[in-house]
């Protein structure tokens, strides 16, 4: 019942189109994360689902009904905002109960729902406080409580953790996931943080410039990114992207290194080769690249190696923490050919 469908949704402000036709089916109970750099249209898309922005073209369906012309309050959604948007003059209890009171629920029912939500979020002790007497994390909980009491078909999260400090963000991230799973409410979650996106999502929508570059489960996007952009955006440290030329059974890097490929390609095609830093190992293998070490970041568990190839392009490798390397040293790094990603240089699409 809580499924959401986007059909070629577009948004323009005057002559500028900022969302260029996004389509996606979101199943009941699914948590979909929309991720992308700022200005990619991810918040606009969410706000269109909420009804805070008009839909220029296309359709949005919530629970099987087209909601293009439906007011936000009648869409059966609840939204959690980045800056919490709590009513500053109301107590926590009133903040959570406000939407229910407007909907004319019986007082006992309102109180019961607020109690239950406060119990789930462990904020019973805060019910009589005003938002300014709360810490950032507590305010975030209240904002979520306000969404939960409504028992909507869909939760919408607009970068809800961006204003929290790093430690709290990790903790709240886990909690949001647990909460969403136990309530089983369909959720759309917008963030620019790819780690947050990877850990939370059932499915990810990676957006760039108003276009959904790829939609799929986080691991699929990690293992088989459809475009250079997705490849670079998902994963940390970011994937190495090197200019290369394909021959029939291998790619030749600009610096001259020749890496065999499992599947053949049309010869002399200009490509971009993607290698994840964590897939490189020290030593020789079927595909080997030689680099000159510029910097080695010893993180304990890992060593992040920054190397330069013969042609001057940079290569990062994530090696086991035991690996030692001195700046200036020459080092050979091997990669399993099956873990190479090859993209068309022109279109950026995966080959």
């Amino acid at each position: 019942m809580g499924e959401v469908t986007l059909r070629a949704v577009r948004k323009s402000y005057g002559a500028t189109e900022v969302v260029h036709g996004v389509s996606c089916d979101i199943a009941d109970g699914e948590l979909v994360v929309i991720v992308g750099p700022s200005g990619c249209g991810k918040s606009t898309l969410l706000r269109m689902v909420a009804g805070l922005e008009e839909i220029t073209a296309g359709e949005i369906l919530i629970g099987g009904k087209v909601v293009n012309a439906v007011e936000p309050k009648d869409r059966d959604i609840a939204m959690v905002f980045q800056n919490y948007a709590l009513y500053p003059h109301m107590t926590v209890r009133d903040n959570m109960a406000y939407g229910l009171k407007i909907r004319r629920l019986a007082r006992a029912e309102v109180e019961a729902r607020v109690r239950r939500a406060a119990g789930i979020l462990q904020i019973e002790a805060l019910l009589d406080r005003k938002p300014r007497q709360l810490s950032g994390g507590q305010r975030q909980r209240v904002a979520m409580g306000r969404a939960i009491v409504r028992d909507p078909q869909v939760f919408l999260f607009d970068e809800p953790l961006s204003n929290l400090d790093a430690q709290l963000r990790v903790q709240m991230r886990v909690e949001i996931r647990r909460l969403q799973q136990s309530l089983g409410t369909t959720s759309i979650y917008v963030t620019h943080d790819q780690v947050e996106a990877m850990t939370l999502a059932d499915r990810l929508i990676v957006m760039r410039g108003g276009v959904a570059e790829q939609i799929g489960p986080p691991l699929l996007l990690y293992e088989r990114p459809a475009t250079v952009f997705v490849a670079a955006f998902i994963g940390s440290p970011a994937m190495n992207l090197l200019p290369a030329v394909a021959s029939e059974d291998a790619v030749v890097l600009a610096g001259g290194a020749r890496l065999p490929l499992p599947a053949g390609l049309a010869a002399d095609r200009p490509v971009t080769l993607g290698i994840r830093p964590e897939h490189l190992v020290a030593g020789d293998g079927p595909a080997t690249i030689e680099v000159r070490v510029e910097l080695a970041e010893m993180l304990g568990a890992d060593t992040i190696l920054h190397g330069r190839l013969g042609d001057g392009s940079l290569l990062q490798a994530r090696l086991p923490g035991a690996e030692r390397a001195q700046p200036g040293e020459r080092m050979r790094l091997a990669v399993d050919p099956r873990q190479l990603h090859v993209f068309d240089r022109e279109s950026g699409k995966r080959i």
Binding site: A50, G51, L52, E71, P72, K73, I77, A78, M79, F81, Q82, N83, Y84, A85, L86, Y87, P88, H89, Y98, G99, I102, R103, R132, R146
Partner: protein, 281 residues
């Protein structure tokens, strides 16, 4: 160390006390004069209050004097109070609504409307007093409370102040209310007004005093003694030329005229500070 502190504090205190004395002395003299008889005042004023305080105030409040056609000061105070309250509340009501419309709604010519309101700031009441008088006269509102207050209610200043405050209300709050299902009027009453209470208190004080002290407009628009406001009545009491001036009564009336605005300031100040302490951004 302590002694030097005290010496350092002495000079500022002296200056402050001097300032207070300069401000308060005329008021004290008014008070002294209101406790004497006419003869005592004219014979050269003493610096200490006399025994006629209660009698003077009773006469001023209830009997009225010849100069004001026998209308008592109590009646004039009442007129002024009603006028000032209508002006203050009316101004706040109108400017709250117009600022709300200009800030939170998108309609054609929105900015034009705002600038039209803003431009009226540049015209003082005196400039448009003749046409305004004509309009009020033709509407038959001379000598009525409506004629006295309505033309003074439109307020560009308050609209501007509210607009500036409303612009600081985050968009997300408006959107949260939309999703919660609060309509525009509900959002105004449940969220905007409670958040503006500090501004409301401050504006009320300023506008009440503005209304109370109106002189030119009431002078033009009221003819019947029954509509006389306290400020007008006070000036009428001071006889011109041969007219006799009961200075003891005038002084008592002056203090009475100062009382309501002073009370409003004192009462609202508590709110005001409370609002300031509680407000958060």
């Amino acid at each position: 160390m302590e002694r030097r502190r005290a010496a350092q504090d002495l000079l500022p205190h002296l200056i402050l006390w001097g300032g207070i004395a300069i401000v308060a002395f005329p008021i004290y003299m008014t008070f002294v004069a209101s406790s004497l008889t006419q003869e005592d005042i004219l014979a050269g004023m003493p610096l200490l209050p006399g025994p006629h305080l209660v009698a003077n105030y009773r006469e001023a409040l209830f009997r009225g004097v010849v100069a004001t056609s026998g209308i008592s000061v109590l009646r004039m105070l009442w007129n002024s109070l009603v006028m000032a309250l209508i002006i203050a509340v009316g101004k706040i009501f109108i400017s709250l609504l117009s600022a709300y419309a200009v800030v939170f709604f998108r309609f054609p010519l929105r900015m034009t409307v705002f600038w039209m309101i803003f431009v009226t700031l540049m015209l003082p009441v005196e400039v448009r007093i003749v046409p305004t008088y004509q309009v009020v006269a033709e509407l038959g509102m001379i000598d009525s409370m409506a004629g006295l207050t309505i033309p003074l209610i439109a307020s560009a200043t308050a609209t501007l102040l509210f607009r500036q405050f409303f612009l600081t209300i985050p968009d997300e709050l408006v959107e949260a209310a939309k999703i919660d299902g609060a309509g525009p009027l509900r959002f105004l009453v449940d969220t905007v007004v409670p958040l503006s209470r500090t501004n409301l208190a401050a504006l009320f004080v300023i506008l009440f005093i503005y209304g109370w002290n109106q002189f030119l407009w009431p002078l033009l628009i009221t003819n019947s003694p029954k509509m006389t406001t306290i400020v007008i009545g006070l000036t009428q009491m001071i006889g011109l030329g041969e007219g006799r001036t009961d200075w003891d009564i005038v002084m008592a009336t002056t203090l009475l005229a100062m009382l309501p605005p002073a009370l409003i300031v004192l009462l609202m100040q508590r709110w005001f500070v409370k609002g300031l302490v509680e407000s958060e951004k």
